[in-house]
Amino acid sequence: MVMTMYTSNNLCNIRTGTVIQGKWHKHRYEIIKQLGKGANGVVYLAKEGRTFVALKISNQATAMMSEVNVLKRFSEVQGVALGPCLLDVDDWIHPQEQKIYSFYVMEYIEGDNLLTFIQKRGKEWIIVIILQLLGDLHKLHEKGWVFGDLKPENLIVSGKVPKVRLIDVGGTTIRGRAIKEFTEFFDRGYWGMGTRKAEPSYDLFAVAMIMINMCYPKRFERKENGREQLRLMISSHPYLKTYEKILWRALDGKYTCAYEMRKELLQCMQQPSMQTEKKRGERVVHVKEKKKFRWVETMFLFVCVLFMYVVYLYVQIL
């Protein structure tokens, strides 16, 4: 998304080595490089002393404050890291412009974004990440939030044991309100398949679209009939086809919570794939043969007993 007006050019070009010192808390951050640009601001990798941090700076104090509010709420949820950890909130007075910019500092989450990760490590990771993601979303929904702007760019896979993390909480909205920020491809309103009300099913639609995006890394534009177009995309891709039923339930907003979708995905995986089904079939045939054999055995015994009885009768008569 290009929002030229909203993010000033000066903020995009803060040079390496620039020291940003907060007006209120006086912490000093040395800029290293730009990590990314959002609709509301620019994120830089920075150093405070020896620790690396991510610093988001913007000329829109209000948008920044609402993001900070979300991050604060997330940190209240103990034991689970739903978003990046919030470290500092402050203002910076630009030395040349004498203008005030707001910034906040978070934990730096090192890793690849979801698309890059899958391209590097292989498709078998898709389902692992999706299951992790659904677990996190469930916790988030239970706390009364909806993530909103869910897309591969906002998901970072980090750590030796790969774990997905949600970054950029710009779209995170209180349940029941209108979604604050979204990306068309992952938005059910854009596809004409639902409202923009913040409810769990809004995020789950995006999860299904993320799975589609994994298989079609070049996103496509909506045509006349969005639903039909998605149907074709799903049924013509072998990977998506395995999860077709679940994907459609998510796209149609049939799941009321993330756990439900997670459970069905797990069940779908445990179901025997084509190969194991064949093996099972063979075993069944064996059992049938055995049964037949047992039947023959019984007949044989029966005939034997009958024969002996006949012999006995014959002997008796004689």
Binding site: W24, N69, D91, T195
Partner: protein
């Protein structure tokens, strides 16, 4: 705080006005009446007409609103974003005014320490969710806009999806300029639902002149008519609280 109504004019155009009053003056007039004017400039290719650009920025500035120039493709995202941002901006202005009353003339949200600012922001967001909104949309249908009208239609439908997800009520009205006979034509009267424009849009013919100024003037009159009609029906003008931003 009492539930109020925000009033906005959203102007969608692709160039310079060439007929009637100065649109920048008309926008200033709107602001005086507590109505915010936002402008979206729609581009085809990489051509930005300097004069057109200056006018777009000028109208938004004097109308107390937001302006944004985009390619036709990005129109949907932009329309909803500009409307939401302008709402927040107006509400913030209101909060700032209240803060000044409590804390003295120096106070504004930016001057609070970051810790306190968060709480104020929560109030602004809460208001933005529940406040009633009236948006009058002015669409430029002069010659060069012809090819972009389909995109404009989709963007407006998209806007109603976004805004109708809020808890507060919305009302939309759509005007096009130049009109068939006069300078401005109304194609959609105040309604919470935008769907009906689908049938009107394809039939639009494009004219030669671009009377942006008169269009804004007409929009202002529509707001006033609405206000007096409402007070006539409710017999109580105080029923409607209009939220206005003071700078």
């Amino acid at each position: 705080m009492r539930k109020g109504t925000l009033r906005q004019i959203l102007l969608i155009t692709d160039g310079c006005s060439n007929h009637g009053e100065d649109p920048i003056a008309m926008a200033a007039l709107a602001k005086e009446q507590g109505i915010t004017v936002n402008v979206i400039g729609v581009l085809d290719q990489d051509i930005i007409d300097e004069q057109g650009l200056r006018e777009i920025e000028g109208i938004a500035q004097s109308g107390g609103g937001i302006s944004q120039v985009v390619y036709a493709k990005q129109l949907s995202q932009t329309v909803q974003m500009v409307t939401r941002k302008a709402m927040t901006q107006t509400l913030q202005g209101v909060i700032n005014r209240e803060l000044k009353q409590i804390l003295g003339s120096q106070a504004s949200i930016e001057q609070l320490p970051p810790e306190k600012r968060g709480e104020v922001m929560e109030v602004v967001e809460e208001l933005g969710e529940t406040v009633n909104l009236q948006v009058l949309i002015l669409v430029d249908t002069s010659g060069s806009m012809k090819t972009k009208l389909q995109t404009v239609k989709e963007a407006l439908l998209d806007l109603s999806i976004s805004l109708n997800a809020r808890l507060g009520n919305n009302e939309f009205s759509v005007f096009v300029f130049p009109g068939k006979k006069g300078e401005v034509d109304r194609i959609l009267d105040w309604t919470p639902k935008m769907e009906s424009i689908s049938s009107v849009f394809p039939k639009l013919t494009s004219g030669g002149i671009t009377p942006t100024g008169p269009a804004i003037r007409e929009a202002l009159q529509q707001f006033q008519k609405r206000r007096s009609l409402k007070s006539l029906f409710t017999h109580d003008g105080d029923d409607d609280v209009y939220i206005e931003q003071s700078m």
